[in-house]
Each structure stands twice: as structure tokens, then as C-alpha cells.
Symmetry: C2
Subunit: 476 residues, 2 copies
Amino acid sequence: MTQYTIAQLLKQTAPQDVEIKGWVRTFRAKRFIALNDGSTLNNIQCVVDFENTPEDVLKRITTGAAVHIKGELIESQGQGQTVEIAVTSIVILGDSDPEKYPIQPKKHSFEFLRENAHLRTRTNTFSAVMRLRSTLSFAVHKYFNDNGFYYMHTPIVTGSDAEGAGEMFRVSALDPKNPPLKDDGSVDYSKDFFGKETNLTVSGQLEAETYAMSLGKVYTFGPTFRAENSNTSRHLAEFWMIEPEVAFMDLAGNMDLAEDFMKSVITYVLEHNSEDLEFLDQRLFDEEKTKPQAERSEMRLIDKLKFVTENNFKRVSYTEAIDILKNSKPNKKKKFNYIIEEWGVDLQSEHERFLVEKHFKCPVILFDYPADIKAFYMRLNEDGKTVRAMDILFPGIGEIVGGSQREERLDVLKEKMAALNIPEEELWWYLDLRKYGTAVHSGFGLGFERLVMFATGMGNIKDVIPFPRTPQNAEF
Amino acid sequence: MTQYTIAQLLKQTAPQDVEIKGWVRTFRAKRFIALNDGSTLNNIQCVVDFENTPEDVLKRITTGAAVHIKGELIESQGQGQTVEIAVTSIVILGDSDPEKYPIQPKKHSFEFLRENAHLRTRTNTFSAVMRLRSTLSFAVHKYFNDNGFYYMHTPIVTGSDAEGAGEMFRVSALDPKNPPLKDDGSVDYSKDFFGKETNLTVSGQLEAETYAMSLGKVYTFGPTFRAENSNTSRHLAEFWMIEPEVAFMDLAGNMDLAEDFMKSVITYVLEHNSEDLEFLDQRLFDEEKTKPQAERSEMRLIDKLKFVTENNFKRVSYTEAIDILKNSKPNKKKKFNYIIEEWGVDLQSEHERFLVEKHFKCPVILFDYPADIKAFYMRLNEDGKTVRAMDILFPGIGEIVGGSQREERLDVLKEKMAALNIPEEELWWYLDLRKYGTAVHSGFGLGFERLVMFATGMGNIKDVIPFPRTPQNAEF
């Protein structure tokens, strides 16, 4: 007798003797167990011969219980499945008290399930989301591996806070109550574990550049952190980031890479997780129906994914985009919360979504942003006021990718750092890349959870990572 | 004219017009550039027509300089390569001052290169090591993906310090000089970012168990941390760990999985990185020659890898191993630093290596360890004194994998926690797994850097991770 997973079992031909272990999702009419083992969204129906099963066993077949079933795989009598198991033996491995088990066979709110994040993958929605997250991760690694990139692990604990991408968390092993102090009263970090003040990384990009300038094509995929007190549906204090970095590649190549990458990983999940996607597509559709017409999405989930894989991304300079926005209806009628008046302002999510969803009706890559609103390491254009930055905007989500060609000229980079008071000693190694064999190079960053939100249609970023870290919450 | 990487170029047929960008490794006789772009260990030879190249360009062709070369790919005249490029045009993209460039075309000490970790992948050894590290990472993901496992990202910042696997780093956003205090004078972490005291994770296992008990087969692959002040060649404060966890799998299944996994990922690098491995094999062989005969390894690197893939791992109980060690020559002759006298002691690296290298001459899995020397979550055997733990021992390195069947019985687990003063409130969610649908489950942990050390033959763990974090060091 072979022990299969349910995913395998559902593809077997009947009849044959089988055994299976899993968890009871529902048990109805003392007869029909819907059994799940996580290998697929689908349950297998196990038909219990209740007349010949002791009452005390039947009582223990409750939602959440772990069971070991032996029986015959047969063609299903009922609708909704092709095969089912005629149970000949059932052993209860682990009980689940129906009075206490938090995951009842009914609809729970996402808020409630967040408080039970250790159990929420026992629901269809969260098992589908986390399977998709896993597939997306693999698609990321596969894409880069297939295209000659090397995966590198950039450090999590960092002694440099130069990038300035956001507020950082301090990492320390000093006595928190009585830290050693210097003569001037400040904390003496030379006595700390690393001999200096250290923080959790906000980005692996600068380190990734060092490897791009030797190995050619590299990428990071690791956790990054922001100590920002924003408790929104789009922010996490701890999230995973993907950052490719490529030597000898300019901004146009960077756009090509990002577009190809995004299309490739989304195609991969469309091909490999159709059941989970169809379930999430329906879930989102049902949820949208409860909203007022005006707030509903025009596209269903799978349509939105195909919209990305099947359309060329429209490339538009920031300057063009500002013109479009300035002359747009919502701007003239003051429907935007932030009215666009002049060149140089940062775009808000409402502007990005207008460009993607209303104006161009396709994914958009904005490029050549004003230098003043972008990071110090971005390549200054010949106009002296814009940098070779790019942002990719997606329907429903706005910015999903941010990248740039990097400033490869030592003198220009030093000037920029000086203007922003970034000490050269902090980034001596980063400057070395411009001293020894510098060259054009580019890369981008993608917040992985944004991608998972897009691919699953989930509206809250807390629901696409196993155990979210947010202000006031580090449970589990 | 197609722009190839050097890896691609070396497989092209001559003659054809080509262009290439890369960094000069050496330039000799004003004629022969050894050019590298990181895509392979191998350089491509570019032959400069020095009589028709301006002297000021020739002068700038220095080690480390970035260049853009056009020319004709031709069959090589010289030895050591099949094709080379007859250069028709060379543009210097980025200079490299030969007086200042730290990476000279000579042998540098690993200590020196550690101080220049941002440039060390410009050497053969470190580019080979980091390419192998990347391939191994991909092999890990591929193995689990091919075998129906889901990748999960367990949290890095954790509010629980229950596992007790080692000293932890504190993560905080409080003012380090004047943290808010409670009435009793202790730090008031309720005012900190997460509303409680938080640390960097030492393991994702407990969280992985929550997903195994719903999705069936899962694994983590992420950074973990130890704030231990041990500055050795085998310890890092920040390292990457792989932790699979499988529902309905017992200790025997766990051993099968670990053996199959280790063989699979090592086979993968043998098949995909032969050039890098051959280089590292020779490097290690040369290094070993400088050692006294008695300290030299009996096997070359590639032989050692094949030794793992081609031999069944010998499974031996801790009790048997103690008997073997007690009666061994080095124990009787008091050659061990730690003499084995009685059942119950923890094994040292010298004992592990004796078992693998001298006694069994194959990889060894020790299992059923004394409960007292293992973690609280390991499944207690019926004898009441051993637990279903396993360690895998490898030649040259000792313990490389540690795992166990997990205690699935609520009452036994609670007793164990009580005995170790682990409060139940800390791990309420972990206990929930035993309350609702508990079942036999198992998993193991593998320090990724140990695997990279084994696969590359590098002797210091600081040399197999891009930017090592160790006591007094968080540079870059």
C-alpha cells in the first residue's frame, strides 16, 4: 500500500488500496470526511462506514483532528471530485476539541486569523496564499539562476546607516539598563558585541554592488527592516526584498530586466498554482461584490495577472507623466488628494494608479526622476537635475519596483555624498568600486510582499507573510 | 555583433566578431590581456595589437581596470584555451591605479582579503567559493521544491527567547541612553517598537512546525544569529540556516530525508560547478602540501564530496557510539582531549571525526541521544532517558546536521517545559499544535555555511559568507 499525499492521490487511478494521513476539515452526516494535508487546496473525500465504526471513534472525527486512514480509492459517487476513499480503517492521531478549536468550519475574519497566525494556514485562503508565496519565491530563484545570476546573502546586521532608506532598528548585546558610556555621556558602542553601533539592514543594494562589480550579475533575496511607526495595510517592520544588480547594464537594460523578470515570475505561478489562483480569484470577486460599485476593481485577479504578462510595460519619463497628470481630469477637478502643480514633486499612489489604470491601461515604467527626490547613489543625467531612476507601477498596487542606474563616477558620487553629509569613511568600500575598474551598472529592488499581494489579491500585507512584524506586534 | 558573457564566449565557434566587457586580471608583454567578467572562473585571452594601440591606452590596461573590447573570436594560438579574441578596439571604462589597487596579481593572505571583502571576489578563490555558494543555495531550493516542500519565511525579529539555542541579540528602537524604566527599575519594553522585548532569532524551527502541521512539508532558509563571543574558524554571529519540517514523519524518515537531501545538493554542485570545484580541489591540495604529513587530509576535495554521495550513511545509536569510543585506541591511550568515560556525555568534534574518518570511514548518523544533553522539544523515547535526536557527522567537519522527531504529546511536552522553567504563556501557540490535531512530526537544521565549507574545502567560516559578522566586526 503506497502512502501518497492528497495532491498525488487525486491523480491516481481507481480502484487501488491506499493510505493517507491528514487533518479533518469537515465531517458531515457521520459519513463524509473532507480531509486535507496541505499538499493541495483540494480535500479528498473519505467515506466512513459509520455502521461498522465505533461511536467513540466517530465522535473524535472533528474539525482539526489528525487522522490516519486506510481504504480503497474508488471513483467518486458524488459531485465535485473524481475519486474518493472508501474507508476501511481510521485511527485518530490527534484530537481536536470542537468546543475549543479556534478554526471552525465557517468564515473567520482576517483580523481573528492574524491573532491565530499559527493556525491560519489551516484555512483555504491562507494555505493558498502561502503556497503561492512559496511558488513565487522559487520562481524568483529559478529566474535568476536560469539567467546567469549569482545569489548572494548580504548582511542583516550592518554597521553602516548611510543609505538612509528609513529608520533603523538597533542591534545590541549591551546591558540595556546600564550601557557603558563615553566621557561625553553617549553610549560607548566600542564595548558592544561588534565594537561599533549596529543596526538591522534596510537594503542589501550597496553590498550587492560590490559583487556585481566582480561576478557580473548578482541578486539578493533576504529580510530587510524599517523602524517606522506606520501601521497600515501596506507596511511591515520586517519584509523580504529582492535586489538584482548587474555590471555593464544601463537604465534601459534595467527596465528590460525588470519587465522580463516580473512577467516571468507571474507566468510561473499562473502555470504552477492554478487551483490556488482560481480559489483566490473567486474569493476576491466575492469580496469585491460587497463593495460599492465605484470601489470595485475592473479586473478579476487572474485577469490582472495576465494583464501584466501580456502587455508591454509603457515607458514614460517623469516629465511626461507630470504633464499628463497636470492636464488630467481628476487634477483639474481637484479630485486628487494631492494636486499636481509643478515639476519636481513626488508622486502619490493615487497618481500612479491613475496613470496605470485610467490613462495608459497597462503597467507603466516611469524613469528619469528629479534628483532631489531620489537616493544619492543614482546616476545623474547630463541635464544635471534628473537621475536615471525608474519605478514600475502596477494596477491596484502602484509602485512595485524601484531601481536605477548607479552613479559610477567617483567625483560626482563624492559631491553628492558631501551635499547630503554622508561621511566618506562610512562608505570607503563603496567608493573603492568607483576607484578600481568602475563601470556603468544598474539594479532594482522589489518588496517581495508587494509581489505576493499582487499575485494573491490580498489587500493587507499582514496577510501575505507568515508572522507579520508591525508596531506593537512581534507575536509568535 | 553579439555581446556575450565570457562563459558563453568560451563555448562559441570561431571565427566571429564579438564584443565583451570585463575586468583585466593580468596584462603581459603589452599584448595578452587575461579578461574576467565573473561569469566563469576562466579568463578569456584578448590579444592586443600593441603596435597600433596608442601608448596612453596601453598604459591604462592595468589589473582591475574595466574595459570594453571588440574584436574577432579566433582559435587560440597558445596553450590553455581553445579560443581567444584578436582585439580590434579597446575602450577603458574604468581605470585601476596599479600603485593603489589592493588586489595585485599575486597570492594574498585570506586575512588580508577579509579586510577587503568588497574586492575579494575579484580573486579566483573567492569567486569560485561564492559561485559555489550560490549554486548550493539554488540546489537547496530546487531539492525542496521538487519534493513538494513549501518555502516559508520565519520571522527574524522574535518576541520569544524560549528555544534557548544560544545568546541572543536585542532588537530595539528605544533611546539607548535613556530607556524608559518601570517602577522596579527595569527597562519598560512595553514602550519599545514592538511593545515587548525582542531579539534576533536563533532558529525558525518552532514557527516552521506550525506550518508543517497544516501544509505538511515545509522548510525555512534564512539568517539566524548567536551573540556568542567565540571568535573561531567555525563560528559566525550571523549565519544562514536551512530547516525542513515534515508532518507525519518519524525519526527514521527524518534520517532518510537528511541523507537524500545532502547527497542531492552535493551531487548538484558536482554536476554544475566542475570548473570551480577543480580549482578549489587543487588549491586545497596545494595548501595541504605545506602541512606536516600527519595533519594532511587523506582525501582531496572532490573525492570527499563523492565519498558523501556514493556511500550510505551509517546509522549508529549514541549508546553504540559511546561503546565504540570508550574502547577505541585514542581513548585508551588518552589521545583524546576529552576522554570518554561514561554514557551521557556530549561528544566533541574529535570523537565525531574519529567515528567518521577512522572507525566507520563513511558519513555517520548518530541517533537516540541522552535527553539531558538535547533540547526540550525532542521526542522522549519509551526508555524515558533518550530522545529521538539525530546528528549527521561528516569527514573533516564533524556535525553538519542536527535534527529530531518532535515531542507531539501535550502532557510530556508541558512536563519538559516546566522542568526547564519555560513558561507556557511564552509558547502558547506551540502548545496549541499539540492540542489540535497533533501528530508525529520531525525536522532538522543545517548551518548553510558549514555546508559551503564542506563543499569548497575552505577552512575558515569567515571565508564562505560575503561579509562575515563576528565579535568586533560588522564592517561593510
